[in-house]
């Protein structure tokens, strides 16, 4: 967490940087999607197009949170796949953060 804070130019003493949610919310769950052959997500042609985080509060250093991700929407328009991936983060059953990522998968030209 301290290394993450420094990488975005923040002071680790200020606590968990808000976009550390990329680690505990987004990638903690989206990584499972990329590893799932049934999801058919081609990582080489994947673009992270939009990202939104909503926080009820920010987690504290040392706190354990639980993240659950799901594909909220998966549509193909004009050969481009739009995949919306949502993650709910809780601590002791109380909501902490919600992440919504839009991924665009461009089919390689054949």
């Amino acid at each position: 967490m301290a290394a993450f804070a420094r990488a975005v130019g923040a002071d680790p003493a200020d606590g968990v940087p808000p976009t550390y949610a990329a680690v505990y919310a987004l990638w903690a769950t989206a990584a499972q999607l990329f590893d799932d052959p049934d999801a058919e997500v081609d990582l080489d042609n994947l673009l992270h197009s939009e990202q939104e985080f909503d926080w009820q509060r920010h987690p504290r250093v040392g706190e354990t949170v639980t993240s659950r991700g799901r594909v909220a929407r998966d549509v193909v328009r004009r050969g481009i796949r739009f995949l919306t991936f949502e993650t709910e983060v809780t601590a002791a059953e109380e909501p902490v953060c919600r992440s919504r990522a839009l991924f665009v998968v461009v089919r390689p030209r054949s």
């Binding site: 290394a3 993450f4 420094r6 990488a7 975005v8 130019g9 923040a10 200020d14 606590g15 940087p17 808000p18 976009t19 990329a22 680690v23 987004l26 990638w27 990582l43 080489d44 673009l47 992270h48 197009s49 939009e50 990202q51 939104e52 985080f53 909503d54 926080w55 920010h58």
Partner: protein
């Protein structure tokens, strides 16, 4: 209004990759990046968003942050992140050295300070 000007470096991108665990080679390996049609390594969108969060407002007050990753940021590029707050609603911009937006649709909501 708050402003932050950052010149991206290979070292900063590598440090973000290490710290975030996002070690996709498009951020780290020039040769690989070119093999998938990029001009070379590019910065993580989430690194840009991490910098954007710093101008959005006090971290503890941040309740919502969103943006669209609109343009590539390469090592050597200088991006100016700016915020304008009104009653807890924050409009954000991120422009590169050519004045091109690299993040669009960027907004934040802040918890308003308690009334005295």
């Amino acid at each position: 209004m708050s402003e932050l000007k950052v010149t991206f470096t290979v070292e900063q991108i590598a440090a973000y990759a290490d710290a975030s665990g996002d070690v996709n080679p498009i951020h780290l390996d020039d040769e690989f990046a070119r093999s998938v049609g990029l001009p070379g390594v590019i910065a993580h969108g989430m690194l840009q968003m991490g910098l954007l969060a710093r101008v959005a407002g006090e971290p503890g007050r941040l309740r919502r942050l969103s943006c669209r990753f609109a343009g590539m940021v390469r090592p050597g590029d200088t991006v100016t992140f700016r915020s304008e707050e009104r009653d807890g609603h924050v409009e954000l911009t991120a422009l590169n050295q050519d004045g091109q937006p690299v993040l669009t649709k960027a907004t934040a909501e802040l918890l308003l300070p308690d009334n005295p």
